[in-house]
C-alpha cells in the first residue's frame, strides 16, 4: 500500500517539469510559433537555476534564475523568428544545440556539487491522511503550482479576451493584423512567457527533482514536452494528463527494474516514451479535434503588410 502511495508521489514529481514546460510550449504554439529549442532552454535554465540555488541558498532563487534564463533565451529566439523571420525549425534546432553545449560549458564547475539539505514538504492536516497523505499531499509546492498553472492557462485561453487574441494570432496572423492587433508583439510575448515556463521546469529538474547538475541531465524531456503539445491537441488539461502518464510509466519501470523483472533495462527505459506516444495518439485520433485545435499558422512566418 505505501509502495503504491510512493509510486503516485514519485509520478507527480516526475510529471511536473514536463507539465510546466509543455504548457509554456503550448502558449508559444497557440500564437503560431514552434520552439524546437525547448531542450536547450531547459538545459540552460537548469544550470542557471542550480547555480543560483547553490550560491543563493534558496530554491526559489533557483526558480527565478531558471525563469529569467529561459525567458532570455526565448527572447533571443523570438527576436530571430518573429522580427527577422528566420526559419522557426532551423532556429529552434540551433537553440537546442547551443543550449546543450553552452550549459555543459557553464556548468562544469557545478558537476558533483551538492545543494543544501532538502526540506520535507507536507500540506497541514491533509498530509497526515493515510495513503492520500504520502501519495498526494507531501509534494514540493511546485507540483501544486503546475496544476494551478494548467487551470490558469485553460481559463486564459478559453475565458479571456487576451487568450482569444492569442488564439486568433495563431489561427490567422494576417486577419489579426488586419483587425489591428500587434501580431509580432503578441507572438514575442507568448514566446518569452513560454520560455520562462520552460525555465521554471528546467530549474525544477536541477534544484528539486535530481537535485544536482549533470551535463545533458534534461535527457530529452524538452522533446517529450514538444510532443505532448501536439498529442494533447493544444489543450492544457491534456498536457497535464500526458505529463503524469509519462512520469507514471517512468516510475513504474524503475520500480519493476528494482524488483528484478527479467527484461532488458534499455527496453524498460523506452517504455515511458512509447506509452505516452501511444496513449496520446489514441486520444488525438479524431481529425476534427486536430483541425479545430491546431493553430493554423503554426511554424509559418508572418510578414505584416505583405
Amino acid at each position: 500500500m505505501s509502495e503504491v502511495a510512493l509510486l503516485v508521489a514519485a509520478t507527480l514529481a516526475a510529471g511536473t517539469p514536463l507539465a510546466i514546460a509543455g504548457l509554456g510550449l503550448l502558449l508559444n504554439e497557440r500564437a503560431g510559433i514552434l520552439n524546437l529549442g525547448a531542450e536547450g532552454m531547459l538545459l540552460i535554465s537548469a544550470v542557471a537555476g542550480f547555480a543560483a540555488a547553490f550560491h543563493g541558498g534558496s530554491e526559489w532563487l533557483g526558480f527565478a534564475a531558471g525563469a529569467a534564463a529561459g525567458a532570455a533565451v526565448a527572447a533571443v529566439f523570438g527576436w530571430l523568428v518573429v522580427w527577422l523571420n528566420t526559419n522557426q525549425y532551423a532556429t529552434g534546432l540551433a537553440v537546442s544545440l547551443f543550449g546543450s553545449g553552452f550549459s555543459a560549458f557553464v556548468g562544469i564547475d557545478y558537476v558533483g556539487r551538492q545543494l543544501g539539505e532538502q526540506r520535507a514538504h507536507a500540506v497541514p492536516i491533509l498530509g497526515e491522511l493515510p495513503f492520500l497523505g504520502p501519495a498526494l499531499f507531501r509534494q514540493h509546492p511546485m507540483v501544486y503550482v503546475a496544476v494551478a498553472l494548467v487551470g490558469a492557462a485553460s481559463f486564459f485561453l478559453y475565458r479571456t479576451r487576451a487568450g482569444l487574441v492569442l488564439r486568433a494570432v495563431g489561427e490567422s496572423p494576417q486577419s489579426a493584423h488586419a483587425l489591428g492587433y500587434g501580431v509580432r508583439r503578441i507572438r514575442l510575448a507568448a514566446v518569452v512567457t513560454g520560455g520562462a515556463l520552460c525555465g521554471v521546469a528546467g530549474a525544477f529538474l536541477s534544484v528539486v527533482y535530481t537535485p544536482l547538475w549533470v551535463e545533458g541531465m534534461v535527457a530529452g524531456r524538452g522533446w517529450i514536452a514538444l510532443a505532448l503539445t501536439v498529442f494533447a491537441t493544444w489543450r492544457p488539461a491534456r498536457i497535464l494528463l500526458g505529463a503524469y502518464l509519462f512520469g507514471g510509466v517512468t516510475m513504474l519501470q524503475l520500480h519493476l527494474q528494482a524488483q528484478g523483472v527479467e527484461l532488458p533495462s534499455q527496453f524498460m527505459a523506452m517504455l515511458p516514451y512509447v506509452a505516452t506516444v501511444v496513449v496520446l495518439v489514441l486520444i488525438s485520433r479524431n481529425p476534427l479535434w486536430i483541425r479545430l485545435n491546431m493553430p493554423a499558422s503554426l511554424g509559418k512566418p508572418f510578414f505584416p503588410g505583405a
Binding site: V165, S175, H177, L179
Partner: protein, 512 residues
C-alpha cells in the same frame, strides 16, 4: 462646404513592375456612398488596402476630415473610425461568430454584450446569424454577414465594402442597400467597391472609375446609365450573351432520392434530392447560401463519397461511392465555390495547379513534361484572358476574378461531358463574367451537360434552361427558365413550393 471625410491625393503603389495605383485622387464627403468601379486588376482592392492601412503607398497623401492622416496600420485606421468588409474574408475559422466579432471591437465590451449586439444588429438589418456557431461551418454568404455585422458594431465613420453583394440573393442585396442607406443617413461615409453597374446606379451618390490603376472618370451615377458606366470601366462595349434554345439529349447526370446526413452537426442534411441534367442543357440551382448547396456539391463532385451508390448516376452508371478523380476520368468535371484551397493551391504556380485536374502533361511513370505543362497553362491564360505574370505565377498572386477565370478555363478546356459549377462568376467583373457565361453556353451547345449552382438569380436566369431551387436540403421541382419569374423563384427560396419545406411549416401553423 465641410471638408471631405476622406481625401486621397496622388496615391501611387507599385508591386515590382506592376503599377497597381497610379496618381489616384478621390474625395468622399460625410454621409456619401462613393462607388469605386473597375475591372479585376484595376487596382480597387489595393487602393482600399491603402486607405485601411494594410498596405503602405509608395507616394501620395491621405487627408482625414481635411487634416493629413498618417495611416500606417489597420489599427490606426480603426482608431480614426474606418471599418472594412473584406472580399477575402478575414475571419478565424476555429472561433465562433461572436468571438470573431468580439476581436474586431474595443476591449471594453464583454462577450455577452457582443452576442446581444450581434442579435440586435442582425434583427435591425435582417441579417440572419447565430452568434454561437463556429465560423468554419458557415457558407460564403453567411461569413460575409459576420463581416458586415462586425463592421457595423464598431459604429464606423467610414465603411469600406469590397464586392459585398457578390454572394447575396437579390432580396438580401436590397436589404443590404437599405442598411447602407440608413447608415449613410447617420453621416457615415461609405466606399463601395463593385463592378455591378446596376447596384452603383441604384445605390451610390458618387462614382470613381479606375482602369489600369488610374482614375479615368469621376461621375454622378444617377446621371449615367449602366451602359455608359460599362464603357468607362472597360473602355469598350460590353459583350452580350448570345444563346439559342437548348436541344437536350440523353440524361447525363442524375440523382435519385439522394438523402445524406451532413458531416457537420451544423450542416444541412440532403433529403430526397432528385435531379436530372441532360446532355446539351444547362440546369441551374438557386437558393440562399447555407441551404444544402455545399453538401449537394460535395456529393456530386465526389468529395463526399458516402451517398448510396445508385443515388447518383453518371450516364446510367452508379457513382455514389466513387471518388472525385474517378468521376473526372468518366467525364465529370467540377468548379468549386472556394477558389483558394479547393479550386487551386495558393502557393503553387498556375502551371502546377493545372495538374490538379488535368493529366495531359504527365508522361510515363508520372514524369511531368514541364514544357507541355507551361504551354497548356499559357493556353488557358490566353484563351480566357487571365491577367497574370505568366504560367509560373503563384495562384494566390492573382486577383479573385482572374483566378476564377483560370479555374473555370482549366475545366472548360478539358472538354468535359458533364460540368458542375458553383458560383461561376463570383467576384468576376462584367467583361469576364459574360465571357465565362458565353463559354458555358458554348460548352452546352457542344453537347455537355452543365449544372450551375449559384446564389445570383440574374446569372441563373441568363444561363440556365431549367431552374431548381434548394431550400433546407430539399430540391424544388424544375421549371423552364422561360416560364419562371424572379418572384416565384424568390418564394421557392423560402421553401414555398408544393410539398416544399416552407409549405409544410406553413401548413403546420409555423412561419415560413
Amino acid at each position: 462646404m465641410t471638408a471631405p471625410r476622406l481625401e486621397l491625393r496622388h496615391v501611387t503603389k507599385r508591386y515590382g513592375d506592376v503599377v497597381a495605383n497610379d496618381d489616384v485622387a478621390l474625395a468622399v464627403a460625410p454621409g456619401e456612398i462613393h462607388a469605386i468601379l473597375g475591372e479585376n486588376g484595376a487596382g480597387k482592392s489595393t487602393l482600399m488596402k491603402i486607405v485601411y492601412g494594410a498596405v503602405a503607398p509608395d507616394a501620395g497623401e491621405l487627408l482625414w476630415d481635411g487634416a493629413p492622416a498618417d495611416i500606417r496600420s489597420p489599427h490606426d485606421a480603426r482608431a480614426l473610425g474606418i471599418a472594412m468588409v473584406f472580399q477575402h474574408f478575414s475571419l478565424f475559422d476555429s472561433l465562433t461568430v461572436a468571438e470573431n466579432v468580439w476581436l474586431g471591437l474595443s476591449r471594453t465590451v464583454s462577450l455577452r454584450e457582443v452576442v446581444e449586439g450581434i442579435r440586435g444588429k442582425a434583427a435591425e438589418y435582417g441579417l440572419d446569424l447565430d452568434p454561437h456557431r463556429p465560423v468554419h461551418v458557415l457558407s460564403v454568404g453567411e461569413r460575409q454577414r459576420v463581416e458586415i455585422v462586425r463592421a457595423l458594431l464598431a459604429n464606423p465613420r467610414l465603411l469600406i465594402l469590397d464586392e459585398p453583394t457578390a454572394v447575396l440573393t437579390p432580396q438580401a442585396a436590397d436589404k443590404l442597400f437599405e442598411t447602407l442607406r440608413k447608415l449613410a443617413a447617420t453621416g457615415c461615409s461609405i466606399l463601395y467597391i463593385s463592378h455591378k453597374l446596376h447596384e452603383i446606379v441604384a445605390l451610390c451618390h458618387q462614382c470613381t472609375v479606375l482602369r489600369g490603376g488610374r482614375v479615368v472618370a469621376s461621375c454622378d451615377p444617377a446621371r449615367e446609365s449602366t451602359a455608359s458606366l460599362s464603357r468607362l470601366m472597360i473602355g469598350a462595349e460590353p459583350p452580350r450573351l448570345e444563346r439559342r434554345p437548348a436541344s437536350a439529349g440523353a440524361i447525363a447526370l442524375s440523382t435519385r432520392e439522394l438523402t445524406l446526413e451532413s458531416h457537420d452537426r451544423f450542416g444541412v442534411a440532403l433529403e430526397d434530392v432528385s435531379l436530372d441534367v441532360r446532355a446539351g442543357e444547362i440546369v441551374g440551382i438557386a437558393g440562399v447560401s447555407g441551404n444544402g448547396q455545399q453538401e449537394l456539391l460535395a456529393a456530386l463532385s465526389g468529395e463526399d463519397p458516402r451517398a448510396d451508390a445508385g443515388a447518383i448516376q453518371l450516364f446510367g452508371q452508379p457513382i455514389g461511392r466513387v471518388g472525385a478523380a474517378a468521376r473526372r476520368k468518366r467525364g465529370l468535371h467540377f468548379v468549386p465555390e472556394e477558389r483558394l484551397g479547393r479550386g487551386a493551391v495558393p502557393a503553387l504556380s498556375l502551371a502546377n495547379n493545372m495538374l490538379l485536374t488535368r493529366k495531359e502533361a504527365l508522361r510515363a511513370f508520372g514524369w511531368i513534361d514541364r514544357a507541355a505543362l507551361r504551354d497548356q497553362a499559357s493556353g488557358v491564360l490566353r484563351r480566357y484572358w487571365v491577367k497574370a505574370a505568366g504560367p509560373s505565377a503563384a495562384a494566390r498572386s492573382l486577383s479573385g476574378g482572374n483566378l476564377q477565370k483560370y479555374i473555370v478555363g482549366r475545366e472548360l478546356d478539358a472538354v468535359p461531358k458533364v460540368l458542375v459549377v458553383a458560383q461561376p462568376t463570383w467576384g468576376v467583373d462584367v467583361g469576364a463574367a459574360s465571357q465565362i457565361r458565353a463559354e458555358l453556353v458554348a460548352l452546352r451547345d457542344a453537347g455537355c451537360a452543365v449544372l450551375v449552382v449559384s446564389e445570383e438569380l440574374e446569372e441563373l436566369f441568363a444561363l440556365a434552361d431549367r431552374l431548381h431551387v434548394i431550400a433546407k436540403g430539399r430540391l424544388s421541382p424544375s421549371i423552364p427558365t422561360a416560364e419562371a419569374t424572379v418572384e416565384q423563384i424568390g418564394e421557392w427560396m423560402s421553401g414555398l413550393w408544393a410539398g416544399g419545406p416552407g409549405q409544410a411549416a406553413a401548413l403546420a401553423g409555423g412561419s415560413p
